[in-house]
Amino acid sequence: MYQLIRIALLSLVICSAADAWAAGDISGEQMRGLDEQVQEMKTDVLDIAAELGRLEERLLYPSGTQVALFVEIADGDALRLDAVQVEINGELVAHYIYSFKELEALQDGGVQRLYTGNIPTGEHSLSVTYTGKLKNGSDVNGSQQFAFVKGVEPKMLGITLDGTGDRIAIGDW
């Protein structure tokens, strides 16, 4: 009896990489066939997304007027960001409240595109305000004004929030 069981156990080990279907006549083959098609579908939709993205960008944010704002956290988990508010030329363009997942992504080195819009070429003002908590649990908030010049090319501005709580840096990319 033990030998039989052992053979059954071993046969399951051998099949470990591709678990057998619980159901009788539905084979893993069918599922794998469908999986191939699903992958093709994903490829197609990604291609559409890329082409549509480029077209949308050209249509909605022409390079001559495009401005994009990105947010990153400088020192990983030192800052628990709650919200960021951005004004361009005194006009509110973004007010974002972060979920836990988004905050983790930022703390782990991700960069969030906070806003994409259009502004004319020339000089502009940017105001960044944020609220959050420091590692020790104390509340922190900061606000800073910046000036920037929009040229004929797309303007990419990276807003870096410092974990010390009182520094906001703007990088021109």
């Binding site: 052992r6 591709a18 619980a22 159901a23 539905i26 699903v38 197609d44 997304a49 080195g109 960069v111």
Partner: protein, 627 residues
């Protein structure tokens, strides 16, 4: 009563292959950072869309080394494969990772890519290819995956029936803290597969004592004890079996099975009193669990063996009630799936907010079918099918969103066309006039510049004469010509006056030359500034003019093509989703039917045993009355 099955556990080599997402230390490219942001939230479609576009643009550049992505290009190429793998696009992931392998990259990056490729092949059941990828690993290996590589290699050997080769690899991983429980367990399985039963028992015994740092390690430790207990039980070593089965934690994923087997071990040893303990615990647990359902029948059996027939009858009665209720649930579940409610529940977005969404499905009152499908849902193939179905549902939502945007885009283009088309011809006419005037001025400016340059090398005072002075010089020249015609003598009063006047003018031009040249230079510089401003304005106008045309021209064809493509994709996706959904439903229904058949058998057994218990109780009572 005989035990229904001693092998409800699925014994497989434990797979604990994880890979941390790429952490970019010094980020130089915002778009790459954005792709990472999406990836770190598990939004791999968005991450891929962003990174594919960024990489495409990077390679289209004449000088890609000036692009900030240049600093991360190896990581970016690698991340594409990584994201595709995580988005279950194994084909593309394999291609992307192979590209990294064949590229000119450093050994750690290449070796990590080879490891990822091997993982893809392993998950797809392509063991020779997995081994081939692992064999490409040479030189420096990132410290974080060194043990993972060995562990994967051992798993490939196990999956291809080469335990003798897996054993030394696993033995060499003994120091790995992270994989300790998995390595210990798989080594036990390898010994077993190699026919070294004594070594297998000893190793599984060790695996069952490993200190668990997390839930996964605790689960694998429980699994080792359960497997060992089950093996010993089958070998008739009941007392030893009970020892290992009792080590399985009471709140782990294998606790129900362990409780059931522990009861059977005691029963085999004819220690029914001890069997009652685990079975009593188990019979009170979740009624949909296979082991709990079996315990409901096993517990009164043990009481019967202890001649407590009254209590046995009571428990058989309870089991009958439970089985009846569960059979009703199963019928309702099968009907619910047939009516499409299972798939409806799956695609509800709010359900999948957290990682344990499969577990949370169980708590949905409107989808009873999920109660019985937890085990099925945990299987790799069903999960793949389920994830594919959910991915397709997400893709459909995206495609639908895009499809609804095309109308707005078309309208936007039409509005812009209607605004600009009547305006532009007039603007163009005005512009052409201004353009010719501006060109004239530009030519004049250039001529003045040349004149300044020539005067710096050869002074020409007459070039700096004022308009009035130029007029006077011309008049004096005309008078002199007239005097020449009339033959007026050189010492005539009029000629003397003429020369005096010329002298006066030349005096002023020569003596004031440097001042005038300075003033000319200064004015020309001022003019340069004005001309530069004019050129800037000119270029701005040209750009704005081009932007006006580009805001509505050239969209109709790509938008039309994309619109059609999205429509076709939705139709294709619907067909694929229907097939995938149908397959899931059939598998789920088959599982439920199997569970129903099992429960019906239990119910029949319980009915018979209930009657038998009553008879025995009656006989016992009659006997005691007679005595």
């Amino acid at each position: 009563m005989k035990r229904a099955s001693l092998l409800p556990i699925v014994l497989t080599a434990a797979v604990a292959l994880t890979a941390a997402p790429v952490r970019c230390e010094e980020l130089r490219d915002l778009w790459f950072g954005e792709a990472l942001y999406h990836a770190k939230m598990g939004h791999y479609f968005d991450a891929l869309e962003r990174l594919d576009t960024e990489l495409g643009q990077h390679y289209d550049l004449d000088e890609p080394e000036l692009d900030p992505l240049h600093y991360h290009i190896d990581r970016a190429e690698f991340s594409v494969g990584d994201f595709e793998l995580r988005y279950r696009m194994h084909h593309r992931a394999g291609r992307a990772i192979r590209a990294v392998l064949e590229g000119d990259v450093e050994a750690p990056v290449r070796n990590e890519a080879a490891y990822r490729l091997a993982r893809i092949h392993f998950h797809k059941g392509q063991m020779p290819e997995a081994l081939q990828a692992l064999d490409r690993i040479e030189g420096a290996v990132p410290a974080g995956i060194r043990d993972d590589i060995g562990f994967l290699r051992a798993n490939v050997y196990l999956a291809t029936g080469r335990p003798d080769e897996a054993i030394p690899v696993l033995e060499g991983l003994g120091d790995s803290r992270e994989l300790e429980a998995f390595v210990a367990y798989n080594l036990g399985i390898a010994y077993l597969q190699d026919g070294r039963e004594t070594a297998a028992v000893a190793q599984l015994e060790r695996a069952g004592r490993v200190k668990a740092g997390d839930e996964a390690a605790a689960a694998i430790r429980d699994k080792a004890n359960l497997v060992l207990g089950t093996m010993l039980l089958e070998a008739g070593r009941n007392e030893e079996a009970a020892t290992y089965l009792d080590r399985v934690s009471l709140d782990g994923p294998f606790s129900n099975q362990a409780l059931l087997s522990s009861g059977w071990a005691s029963t085999r040893a004819e220690n029914y009193e001890r069997a009652v303990v685990p079975w009593s615990i188990l019979a009170g647990r979740e009624t949909t669990d296979k082991a709990a359902q079996e315990a409901m029948l096993a517990l009164p059996y043990a009481y019967g063996q202890l001649s407590v027939h009254g209590r046995a009858a009571e428990y058989y009665g309870r089991a009958l009630d439970t089985y009846g209720a569960e059979l009703g649930k199963l019928d309702a579940s099968i009907l619910s799936i047939r009516e499409g409610r299972f798939l409806e529940a799956l695609v509800r977005e709010e359900i999948r907010k957290d990682e344990d969404w499969v577990i949370r499905l169980r708590s949905l009152p409107e989808s009873p079918e999920t109660y019985y499908l937890m085990e099925l849902m945990a299987s790799h193939d069903f999960q793949t099918g389920l994830q594919n179905y959910l991915d397709l549902a997400d893709l459909r939502r995206k495609l639908e969103g895009w499809q609804s945007s095309f109308e707005a885009y078309g309208e936007m283009v039409d509005i812009r066309r209607a605004h600009y088309e009547p305006l532009l011809p007039g603007i163009d006419t005005e512009f052409r006039k201004l353009d010719s005037r501006m060109r004239l001025r530009l030519e004049q400016h250039e001529m003045l510049n040349k004149r300044l340059q020539s005067m710096l090398t050869a002074p020409r005072p007459e070039f700096l004469a004022t308009r009035e002075e130029q007029r006077m010089l011309a008049t004096l020249e005309a008078v002199e010509e007239k005097l020449d015609e009339q033959g007026v003598a050189a010492d005539d009063e009029s000629r003397i006056r003429l020369r005096r006047l010329e002298g006066r003018l030349l005096w002023a031009l020569r003596t004031e030359y440097h001042d005038r040249l300075d003033a000319f230079h200064r004015h020309l510089q001022e003019l340069d500034g004005a001309m530069t401003a004019l050129e800037v304005r000119y270029r701005q106008f040209v750009r704005v003019r081009q932007a006006a045309s580009h805001s509505y021209e050239g969209y109709d064809t790509p938008l039309g093509r994309l619109h059609a493509r999205v429509g076709e994709s939705i139709a294709r996706l619907d067909r694929l989703m229907a097939r995938q959904g149908r397959l899931l439903e059939v598998v789920a229904i088959d599982e439920l039917v199997a569970r129903r058949d099992r429960l019906e058998r239990f119910r029949d057994d319980a009915r018979y045993a209930l009657a038998d218990s009553y008879d025995r109780a009656t006989q016992l009572q009659a006997r005691s009355e007679a005595e």
